[in-house]
């Protein structure tokens, strides 16, 4: 039974899927909740697209289930009004005009035609909507795919690599757009193989590798954990600073001719110690890990297709 509590939630429970001898999904579980952008991240081949295809009822799972508002996708009678999905931006008939692609989708749900023009406007494709989709750039096809996902005004949006092919202006646009969709109370899932793409837009992360969930965590918590309590310091008197801070119990590492990374002592204490001893310094800041660094720490041993480490003299 569907209850209000279920509306807009997506539950993935213990999904397993094999393609021949390859295990694509190995007991994958997570839950998406409304009102936030969840980044769905993992290296290429980790199982992101397979998961989305199973959620959308296109592929059958060997085991486990995926529920939208408490029901499997194929049991939804007006799916476009419950879930909007962008799977593959290239999946448009090249001879059909962009607007007509949305028109047949609208007709499948008796969505009024004015809604078609509304979403075209919303994604910035109105002026190109009467051109054939075959002439669209990848970025324009992404926008068309996003328009299709928005067509039914669904409470849940599942977007597979929506940033692919967008120009810098488009990337800025989609980040803001995703956040605004979540602010409206929608459940938004964005998959990506590049953590940096999600840096400014995701609130929550589901990180997968080899068909399993590696991390299911808030972005802030993840960053805090990866950053530790390290302090970056710039000083012209490197040796004196190192001696002084080490004596105070800190672990100090030189990162450049005039730069140090200090851990075990907070920024305030560092300033106090250096000022007290008259050691000159020009910059003290709490070190903040990037999402990319945090992600690399998490997935280091879960890469499906990792290149061997670079060795030799040319490596810097």
């Amino acid at each position: 039974m569907e209850t209000d509590a279920d509306a807009g939630t997506v539950q993935v429970k213990g999904l397993r899927k094999r393609f021949g001898s390859v295990t694509a999904l190995d007991g994958l579980s997570f839950t998406l909740t409304p009102g936030q952008v969840t980044g769905f991240v993992g290296p290429n081949g980790a199982g992101k697209s397979t998961t989305l295809r199973i959620v959308l009822g296109l592929d059958a799972a060997d085991d486990g289930e995926a529920l939208i508002g408490g029901r499997p996708y194929r049991a939804l009678s007006t799916p476009l009004q419950e879930v909007g999905a962008l799977l593959d931006a290239g999946a448009v008939h090249p001879s059909r005009r962009g607007r007509d692609h949305l028109l047949w989708l609208a007709h499948s749900h008796r969505i009024p035609v004015r809604r078609v023009d509304e979403v075209l406007e919303q994604v910035g494709l109105a002026s190109a909507s009467r051109r054939r989709a075959g002439g669209y750039s990848l970025g324009m096809r992404q926008r068309l795919g996003i328009a299709a996902a928005l067509l039914g005004d669904p409470p849940v949006l599942l977007l597979d690599e929506p940033v692919n092919g967008l120009d810098p202006e488009g990337i800025r646009w989609i980040r803001g757009f995703l956040k605004s969709l979540a602010r409206e109370g929608r459940t938004v899932l964005v998959s990506s193989h590049l953590m940096s793409e999600l840096e400014d837009s995701a609130d929550h992360l589901v990180v997968i590798g080899r068909g399993r969930v590696i991390a299911d965590t808030g972005v802030r918590e993840l960053l805090a954990a990866a950053s530790g309590d390290r302090v970056a310091l710039r000083t012209s008197a490197r040796t004196e600073a190192m001696t002084l801070l080490a004596a105070a119990g800190a672990t100090v590492a030189a990162t450049d001719r005039d730069a140090l990374t200090v851990s075990g002592v907070n920024a305030e204490k560092v300033v106090q110690l250096l000022a007290g001893a008259g050691v000159p310094f020009s910059e003290v800041s709490a070190h903040r890990a990037t999402l990319e660094e945090a992600y690399m720490e998490l997935t280091g041993d879960a890469l499906e297709f990792a290149a061997p480490p670079v060795t030799g003299t040319e490596a810097s």
Partner: protein
């Protein structure tokens, strides 16, 4: 969700009636085909090839080729509908492409997210493809018979010589007209079944052409006449096209309606196979 001002068309989005869902699905499939230029080219080609080939063939008819017109037993109606033999290729192409192009472009995934019931999707496609081909086939059959009527008379096969003018008032002529119309629609559905089963344009067309044109060739290679007749009875094209005959029915390998039934069985069986593949496999 402040901006969620959208069309649930008065009804709750979740309580759409069964009938309404079918209508919507057919509407979507119709819009999908309607918005491709190729659809209209195919339908025009179907009409043109049928009428043109029919007229060209009938135009070669000469009364002088027969020693005695009355005993010549020329099947002028069947001759006037020769174009069906070529137009079926266009119908096959159109039917197969209606689904195989979706696999080629990846739109099948968009289709099945909008219409998760695969059975409903395929049935709606069959209705729309069948309806469009039926409209074109009707025009083609009428055009062929009209051209045939004039050409046959001009060739000297007149009522006075024992050949009444071709008209739908005549029972066997009406059967041939209705039968060829139905046959072309069945070939389009056969193409749709093949496209759904094979999920590939090249594969579906190869299989379809072999089935329509290769099967009779194989039959011709058989030396035993009993085997030849058996092959002609089960091949979709040679059995199905027996419905064109209006004279000398005893010489046919299979009766007109029974032959059309064989073609219908092929189309039905291939649609069922297509549905089985569609239902059970990942897309």
């Amino acid at each position: 969700m402040s901006e969620r001002a959208v069309g649930h068309d008065g009804m709750s989005g979740r309580a759409v009636g069964h009938g309404a869902r079918w209508v919507r699905t057919a509407h979507a499939e119709w819009t999908k085909l309607r918005t491709l230029h190729s659809t209209w080219w195919f339908l025009a080609a179907l009409v043109l090839t049928m009428v043109a080939v029919s007229a060209l063939t009938t135009g070669t008819l000469r009364a002088g080729d027969c020693a005695a017109l009355r005993t010549c037993e020329e099947d002028t109606v069947k001759l006037s509908l020769t174009g069906v033999w070529v137009a079926q290729a266009v119908a096959l192409l159109f039917g197969a492409l209606a689904v195989s192009s979706e696999y080629g472009t990846g739109t099948i995934r968009t289709t099945l997210t909008a219409i998760p019931s695969r059975w409903r999707m395929l049935a709606a496609k069959a209705v729309v493809v069948g309806g469009l081909v039926a409209a074109a086939a009707a025009v083609g059959v009428f055009g062929s018979l009209y051209a045939g009527r004039e050409l046959v008379l001009a060739a000297g096969f007149t009522p006075a010589a024992g050949y009444p003018a071709i008209g739908l008032g005549d029972g066997p002529t009406l059967r041939a007209a209705a039968g060829s119309f139905l046959y072309v629609v069945l070939v389009a559905l056969l193409g749709l079944g093949l496209g759904t089963a094979l999920r590939d344009t090249a594969g579906a067309l190869t299989a379809g052409f072999l089935l329509l044109y290769g099967f009779p060739l194989v039959a011709a290679l058989l030396t035993d006449p009993d085997w030849v007749e058996a092959a002609q009875r089960i091949a979709p094209a040679s059995a199905g096209l027996s419905v064109l005959a209006t004279r000398n029915l005893d010489a046919l390998p299979i009766g007109p309606w029974a032959g059309l039934g064989v073609a219908a069985a092929w189309a039905g069986a291939l649609l069922v196979v297509g549905w089985g593949v569609l239902r059970g496999r990942d897309v």
